[in-house]
């Protein structure tokens, strides 16, 4: 079977590294990655602990399909209690780190405690050591990765690390692996920093086997072929996720200037067409596309910045290629802050990767700060002399660096929208759910998305459900509870396999996941059991949040989305129907009107012990 059946448990307080057998009973209930890590978190952490305390636990988890030939098999999840939201944080990433961790022989890596001094974890198969990180603490993700490979004489090593943002507790710091892939959201990097853990460096040579190789390879061939000809796959390959920016612009669901508008005039300068059009110097932003481990889509964008652009004209070290604009980055550094300078956006994207923090939350926080600035609540005295006007590209790039280094006003931005807006007395400007900033879809135009945001266990997030179809067809809140809940459960299952969510949009069908899991894991997996696994994961996350002190009141959207109508686009005049959708959703979930899973629901899911 395709689990490695081994857990690596590291206690940074005690300085110990121990392996233990994977709890196979839990594995058959929660599969792997997101689900299994949630179960381990539940069993290891009191949900009421401070996220940044040594009592919190940080879990890196691969899935049973991670490292196999199934397309998009490179995912791993980081699960912990989140410092941005106080809720469960579950952030997954691609690149090549996850498969490497699995090849080293581990399904899960569980980090306890806090090291007295900065350290990193070095794993070569069954050799594991905690190493002082004096040489890399305070340096960037990019430097850390290069240094570790050179120091350990292992160019094949894969690294997941934090930048200064994570070290200094930027609330939405992320964990970056393979230079520009990230467990990006909810501040998992800040938790890593709070443990004084700079990096996990891993080399694995043990491989992964599956339960029924012949049958598994049959499914692999079928799905590869299907994806090869699939329109969704082709579009992701050709345009990347940023294709969405044109869709949202046309639809009128593109959050602009801190959600004051839903369409943005400058879209043509930062959309996929702009990425391949030469500028006045003949410079083309996009170099090529790139795949994560095992992925036959390759949606990743590799870009570079015009050498004459103001951002790097005096910083030659940035004349190179790196991860370019994905949709969320383009949205958060573009419309959300009113900027249409593609090189500035790309540069800021480089900085977020290099320093290790979430571009969505940063863009959201900066947008709120810009609104505060334009209202006159904060001035250049607060912002280190930078005019934080919407549309100011320099403000974006300067603040991106300051936030990465937690310097000056960057330290304030590093608090996230809620804490910052609270500090300046305008909590209503924070466009968040549970303290986490929105992705690039406006809840007034996409009602089901709004429900997904409000109920997502990690705070506002676009990746934990998929209601696009119903949302584009019907712009009311009616009938959204069902597709929202069903897709949440489906995604929770998918996130627990080790595959990427995009596989589902690129040609893989629900039955394919079942076939892959069954042939890889062995056992009597069918569609229903997998769906129920997803529902079990969702409900356990919910239970964690309830125990952490979250309530029904946290399943809500900001007043701006509920009270201020969309000013343009297909949803012109509409507000979010969230108050109508929530009760329906709770009922459909089998939860009480207060949003707590009923005893029957827990029993049905085997969560009642």
């Amino acid at each position: 079977m395709s689990w490695q059946r081994k857990v690596l448990r590291v206690d940074l307080t005690k300085g110990t590294c121990e392996t233990e057998d994977l709890n196979m009973e839990w594995a058959t209930q929660f599969l792997g990655e997101r689900g299994l890590a949630t179960k381990y978190l539940w069993e290891n952490v009191d949900p009421s602990v401070d996220a940044m305390s040594p009592e919190n636990v940080l879990i890196f988890a691969t899935g049973p399909l991670t490292g196999t030939m199934a397309s998009t098999s490179g995912r791993y999840a980081v699960v912990t209690k989140g410092p941005l939201t106080g809720a469960i944080a579950c952030s997954n990433s691609g690149g090549k780190f996850g498969a490497e961790l699995k090849y080293a022989g581990y399904d899960l890596l569980i980090i306890h405690g806090r090291s007295e001094k900065p350290v990193y974890l070095h794993i070569e198969d069954d050799e594991v050591e905690i190493v002082p990180a004096d040489d890399i603490w305070g340096t960037t993700v990019w430097h850390t990765e290069e240094w570790l490979k050179a120091h350990h004489q292992n160019p094949q090593m894969k690294v997941a690390s934090i930048g200064v943002a994570g070290e200094k507790g930027v609330r939405y710091a992320c964990i970056v692996n393979d230079l520009h892939r990230a467990a990006g959201r909810s501040g998992v990097g800040a938790v890593m920093g709070s443990k004084n853990l700079k990096a996990v460096a891993v080399r694995g040579t043990q491989g992964v086997t599956v339960d029924d190789p012949e049958a598994f390879m049959d499914v692999v061939r079928t799905t590869h072929e299907r994806m090869s000809g699939h329109r969704g796959r082709k579009e992701l390959t050709e345009f990347g996720t940023n294709a969405m920016i044109d869709v949202m612009q046309n639809f009128g669901g593109l959050p602009t200037r801190n959600f004051q508008a839903v369409q943005f005039d400058g879209v043509d300068k930062i959309n996929p067409a702009a990425m391949v059009t030469p500028n006045e110097h003949g410079h083309v932003n996009l170099l090529t596309n790139k795949a994560c481990f095992g992925c036959t889509i390759a949606c990743g964008r590799i870009a570079h910045i015009d050498e004459e652009h103001f951002t790097i004209v005096n910083r030659k070290e940035y004349i190179h290629a790196s991860g370019g604009l994905e949709y969320e980055t383009a949205y958060a550094f573009g419309p959300l802050v009113g900027i249409d300078d593609i090189d500035a956006l790309t540069y800021a994207a480089f900085l977020t990767n290099e320093h290790g923090y979430d571009p969505i939350s940063f863009g959201g926080t900066l947008a709120a700060a810009m609104e505060l600035f334009e209202m006159g609540v904060i001035t250049e005295e607060d912002t280190d002399g930078i005019a934080l006007n919407f549309g100011n590209a320099e403000a974006l790039t300067v603040m991106a660096e300051k936030t990465g280094k937690a310097e000056g006003f960057g330290e304030i931005l590093g608090l996230g929208s809620n804490r910052m807006c609270e500090k300046y007395g305008h909590p209503e400007l924070a466009m968040t759910v549970k303290g986490q900033e929105f992705a690039g879809y406006d809840s007034r135009a996409l009602q089901g998305m709004g429900l997904g945001y409000a109920t997502s266990n990690r705070g506002a997030c676009h990746l934990k459900h998929d209601v696009f179809g119903p949302d584009m067809e019907d712009q009311t809140g009616k009938g959204k509870a069902e597709p929202c809940k069903d897709s949440q459960d489906f995604v929770a299952m998918l996130d627990s396999t080790g595959l990427c969510l995009f596989s589902a949009g690129a040609g893989m069908k629900p039955g394919h996941f079942t076939e892959l899991v069954r042939t890889a894991c062995g056992g009597d997996w069918d569609d229903d059991r997998l769906t129920q696994t997803g529902e079990r994961v969702w409900n356990l996350e919910r239970m964690f949040n309830l125990k952490a002190g979250l309530t029904r009141a946290d399943d809500d959207l900001p007043a701006r989305l509920k009270e201020v109508p969309a000013p343009s686009g297909t949803a012109k005049g509409k507000v979010s129907d969230i108050d109508m959708m929530i009760p329906e959703y709770y009922e459909y979930r089998g939860w009480t009107p207060d949003g707590e899973p009923t005893t029957q629901t827990l029993q049905r899911l085997g969560l009642n012990d």
């Binding site: 498969a99 040579t205 795949a291 570079h304 290629a321």
Partner: protein, 156 residues
């Protein structure tokens, strides 16, 4: 006519399907560390080069073998390792100037690309045709070099 692997780095997305297919075909396990073909990535992923034995005419490995464990398969033109004969001395691994013969610790022998006996798994697994198995006169060194330096892969 013999066929050969034609590598077009401009098309490589670095997905490593080839490495998994190779290790699965040869070792029965998904394990890039045991793959005979290797993707090297540069410049934050802007370039990726699939790299394996070209079955070169000089066959430095074959000539360096002290026990004739390396022989050329007349059907495929591949230089193959006979595990029964290989003593594991590793001289071929330092003699091959391309670095494409590697020691395999678990078997105590060396491994190299043998074109899977004429049906290479890497080429079948490659989703972008960066690796294809074609008539040998298409794989001349100049052609390979020309395609290698012709610029960046365009997404397609």
């Amino acid at each position: 006519m013999h066929k050969a692997l034609l590598i077009d780095p401009a098309k490589c997305t670095s997905c490593l399907q080839c490495e998994m297919a190779c290790s699965f075909e040869n070792e029965g396990v998904f394990n890039p560390a045991k793959s005979r073909i290797k993707i090297f990535e540069f410049e934050h992923g802007a370039r990726a080069i699939p790299y394996t034995c070209t079955q070169c005419a000089e066959a430095w490995c074959l000539h360096a073998c002290p026990v004739e464990a390396l022989t050329r398969n007349p059907d495929t033109n591949a230089v193959e390792v006979s595990n029964d004969i290989c003593v594991g001395c590793k001289v071929c691994t330092i003699a091959c100037p391309f670095g494409t013969v590697n020691y395999n610790k678990s078997s105590g022998k060396v491994i190299k690309c043998d074109l899977c006996g004429g049906d290479p798994a890497c080429a079948k697994a490659c989703p972008t045709d960066a690796i294809t198995y074609v008539d040998a006169d298409w794989t001349g060194y100049e052609r390979m070099q020309a395609s290698a330096v012709s610029g960046h892969g365009r997404p397609a």
